[in-house]
């Protein structure tokens, strides 16, 4: 009985079904072979950036080791500079903060904010020594960039300099332990992209392969990769404009909040913001500053609208220039600039340029995905 009724239904369905062809083409659709762009952005921007991060993390560990063995003003200055150096590729990499940096918890391990100065000071006053294992098992808000920044530069309220005489041996020991843990994470990040996405499973895919060879459990097609990259740009432009700058800036000069300033101990804030948007430029253009031309999102946009492609590039450049300009002729750090009437005008200009860029990426670039005839 079942077989008969089932068969009749299936036969009917077969007869009723019409076979035809799909046609998604319309006036605005465009072709673009994304493989060279994805390959370049993956290998020469994202992975190259993480390799650079790890290399600079190693240099930072070396600088801290030198400081540990030879506690001098010059070695402290070198360690401070090494911290700023390793900060640069990290901040640029925030334009593509997806994959292992998130799944392995590396972002919170390295860049948790706010720092728990209360716990950190309690640790320093209660313990007689520190080890890397101990720091690794600690909460994220007493390790990573900002913990090490606090120990290297001081509290940042009056200045961003710390005399070597102000630094205790125990602080250096904590710093050395935190730096070792830190470098372990940057190595994990590099390895996850280049060797195996799960360090404990040698047969797991190198994460870069998920982008390079789509139709896998992460990206079903190249649409996903390009969408990831564009949304990554939008995410960091939003965060810099509406979070990192706007929140400490406040509604007016009487409502600023210096405690929300990123990298406030080292006064590296404007460099951080600038590097965030340079990171956007790297992905958009497909190459680091001053490198030979390679394919980036700009080529995807150019495939359908070269005028738009140029406009976005100009808007990115303007945003970078306007962030740099916040410092003004008297080279104000961001922490001070939010309380300076003239600098606030410049900050608003930077915010406006980021708002414009974000709108363009959301309304003009992201929507191109709907018109792209992916190959």
């Amino acid at each position: 009985m079942f077989k008969k009724s089932c068969l009749s239904i299936l036969v009917s369905v077969t007869l009723l079904s019409a076979c035809g062809s799909d046609n998604d083409d319309d006036n605005t659709s465009f072709d673009f072979d994304a493989t060279p762009m994805i390959t370049n952005l993956t290998e020469d921007v994202i992975v190259a950036g993480y390799v650079d991060l790890n290399t600079k993390a190693e240099a930072f560990v070396a600088a801290i080791t030198t400081l540990s063995t030879d506690k001098t003003e010059a070695n402290l200055a070198a360690a401070q500079q090494a911290w700023k150096n390793v900060r640069q590729p990290w901040e640029q990499g925030e334009s593509h903060i997806f994959g292992p940096v998130d799944s392995l918890g590396i972002d919170p391990h390295l860049d948790s904010w706010p720092l728990n100065t209360s716990d950190l000071e309690d640790l320093l006053s209660s313990q007689s020594s520190f080890t890397a294992d101990g720091v690794r098992n600690s909460n994220d808000d007493v390790q990573g960039f900002h913990t090490m920044e606090f120990l290297l530069f001081g509290d940042g309220v009056e200045d961003n300099t710390k005399a070597i005489t102000e630094m205790t041996d125990l602080e250096i020991e904590y710093l050395a332990s935190a730096a070792e843990v830190f470098e372990g994470y940057t190595q994990d990040l590099e390895d996850a992209w280049l060797v195996a996405s799960d360090a404990n499973n040698a047969s797991s895919e190198a994460y870069k392969d998920y982008l390079l060879e789509t139709d896998n459990e992460v990206y079903s097609s190249q649409v996903g990769v390009v969408e990831e990259l564009i949304n990554g740009l939008i995410g960091i432009v939003d965060e810099v404009g509406n979070g990192k700058i706007a929140e400490p800036f406040g509604s007016d000069i009487d409502n600023t909040d210096t405690s929300l300033v990123e990298s406030q101990y080292s006064w590296n804030s404007l460099a951080d913001f600038t590097n965030n948007i340079i990171g956007v430029q790297n992905v958009y253009r497909g190459e680091f500053e001053d490198a030979a031309d390679a394919q980036g999102i700009i080529d995807f946009v150019s495939a359908t609208d070269s005028e738009l492609a140029t406009r976005i590039d100009d808007e990115i450049s303007a945003a970078i220039a306007n962030i740099k300009a916040i410092a003004g002729t008297d080279d104000l750090p961001f922490r001070q600039a939010i309380g300076d009437a003239d600098a606030r005008v410049r900050i608003q200009t930077a915010i406006d340029s980021l708002t414009l860029l974000q709108a363009s990426l959301e309304n003009d670039v992201l929507l191109l995905l709907n018109e792209w005839n992916v190959q």
Partner: protein
């Protein structure tokens, strides 16, 4: 107390599975013939869900459904004011709390003093599942720390609970003396009075109520065609509980035989407002507690205590459970604010008491730290304000559902038929339409964007016996130790896109959708058998369909 649930006997399951295999073989053969056609006018050939792209109707995400942003976008039809609230809640979702006192930002302090994580996002990474931790080959196990998005619920074994009422404490679980109903494996500095001890004692100044170690037990599933899949099951060891000396751990209240533990992994948080607006009667219509239709499936509701009704003076503070792994919370609001207080130790107006209030641990902590972190400030305000609570709840209520991918793919289409034929839809109910009219959600006015939507969550919102292998053997309100709520499948194909280290099921044990299917037992054993008896190509097609969701 006695369970209302009728446990199906394994023999019956096998007989039913064999009948299904016989039935399915002909239909599979014929359906494969049909699927060869390239037509896009497929509406009559496939189940009605097969060609639906927007699983959340107008509450579906735009321009994010192929990437890791797929779970993280607001419903596009929110009003401007609603969008602003959603975005504020988005910031709160990532807000990391700190040890009290935080003089610069008192609104951020109050973490713990014991907790499982510091912010929402750490367990719901990018609004999705948390990472399943793996173990280095040089180690047998790892300590759960800041990277863990999993924790243990616990309670005293007290039999089943038939139906909640005032006499049985509304079926609330009985907590472990001195600990409660959730094991907080992390702490702020000095959370324990032995925080500064050396090994073999705590040796970790950030230790919580106890250390929890994760290891895995491996097994192999072999298909009838001879191919096999390696499976892993998490095991947990608890050490150095705070209530006893380290050389007397077996005396701890949580080491007793009558304590039941249940691992709980972070789960995706999109589409939840839509699920809350499914009419209760539509869910209850799917109940079949005595399996009257003899399909081997007997879903039932979990009726749970509702703190919002209790707050509002309702004489019967009971609601249909909808959220959590065992449908043990009635609303996004109760689920979210319970997690804020429990997982993070942040008190809020709905849950104003610290998670460990009135325990010796809390009293000791308060004494040693000059009464910091009592849960309320000098004005009587909780650590999270009403507006913070409202915004973060609204965020979780209004995250859009990602759209499907590859719906025209032939394997996906073939899989849509196999999905139905393998009886997956018996529990993973494809579609509902959300309610319309004047509605509240968690006690507040519901946004219009959630109403009247034809949604495809692929869940019946009910409890099912999932067999011994998945059993946690712990009651949760009316749910027994074998029962779990049918997980929504919408968006599941983006799980690894959102978090490549994410795992499936309540303890993250399944690395793939295929593994998750193979863990289905109990009422779902029928479907697992049907799946296992497919050809490898057909199994792949079925998984392809699920991955398209």
């Amino acid at each position: 107390m006695q369970s209302l649930f009728v446990h199906l006997k394994p023999d019956n399951l096998i007989i039913m599975a064999c009948k299904q295999i016989q039935l399915i073989s002909l239909t599979l053969l014929l359906s494969q013939i049909i699927i060869g056609c390239d037509s896009n006018d497929n509406s009559s050939k496939y189940p009605d869900y097969a060609l639906v792209e927007k699983l959340g109707d107008t509450a579906t995400a735009e321009n994010a459904s192929n990437s890791g942003h797929g779970f993280s976008t607001p419903i596009p039809t929110l009003t401007d004011d609603e969008l602003a609230q959603h975005l504020t809640g988005d910031v709160h979702f990532e807000t990391a709390f700190t040890t009290a006192p935080n003089t610069e930002h008192p609104e951020l302090d109050g973490l713990g003093p014991v907790f499982n994580n510091q912010d929402c996002n750490s367990c719901h990474q990018r609004d999705g599942r948390s990472s399943t931790l793996t173990i280095p080959s040089t180690q047998d196990r790892i300590l759960l720390g800041s990277s863990a998005g999993i924790f243990l619920r616990m309670s005293i074994e007290d039999g089943l609970c038939e139906y909640p009422d005032a006499d049985n404490e509304y079926c609330n679980n009985v907590g472990v003396e001195g600990f409660g109903t959730q094991l907080f494996h992390r702490g702020v500095l000095k959370a324990r009075d032995d925080w500064n001890a050396q090994a073999p004692d705590t040796a970790n100044p950030f230790i919580g109520q106890a250390n929890v170690y994760l290891s895995y037990e491996s097994s192999t599933y072999t298909y009838p065609d001879g191919s096999s899949v390696e499976l892993k099951k998490p095991l947990f060891d608890i050490e150095i509980p705070y209530d006893v000396e380290s050389d007397d751990q077996t005396s701890s209240a949580i080491m007793q035989d009558n304590v039941r533990f249940s691992p709980r992994n972070g789960m995706p948080v999109f589409g939840l407002g839509l699920l809350e607006l499914i009419a209760e009667e539509d869910i209850l219509a799917l109940e079949d507690e005595d399996d009257t239709n003899s399909d081997g499936i007997s879903g039932r509701a979990n009726w749970v205590f509702d703190p919002i009704k209790a707050r509002d003076g309702d004489d019967t503070p009971i609601s249909l459970g909808r959220f959590g792994w065992k449908a043990s919370t009635p609303s996004v609001r109760v689920q979210s604010l319970g997690a804020l207080r429990g997982d993070m130790g942040i008190t809020n107006p709905l849950f104003p008491d610290e998670s460990i209030a009135n325990t010796s641990m809390h009293e000791s902590y308060l004494t040693r730290t000059n009464n910091e972190d009592t849960g309320t400030d000098i004005y009587g305000d909780t650590e999270a304000s009403q507006s913070f609570s409202d915004d973060v709840v609204f965020y979780a209520e209004t995250l859009a559902v990602p759209a499907r991918r590859d719906i025209d793919d032939e394997d996906v289409l073939a899989g849509s038929i196999l999905f139905e034929q393998s009886q997956c839809t018996a529990c993973h109910t494809p579609s509902f339409t959300t309610q319309t009219g004047e509605l509240s959600i968690g006690g507040k006015d519901a946004p219009e964007a959630l109403k009247g939507q034809k949604i495809y969550p692929f869940t019946d919102m009910l409890l099912h016996n999932m067999g011994d292998e998945l059993a946690d053997n712990r009651r949760d309100f009316m749910a027994d130790g074998f029962e779990w709520k049918t997980r929504p499948l919408w968006g599941i194909g983006l799980t690894k896109t959102v978090n490549p280290a994410a795992g499936f099921l309540h303890d993250g044990r399944a690395n793939t959708v295929e593994e998750a299917i193979l863990w289905h037992g109990g009422e779902a054993a029928i479907s697992r058998t049907l799946f296992a008896n497919l050809t490898s190509v057909q199994r792949s097609q079925l998984v392809s369909f699920v991955m398209s969701l």
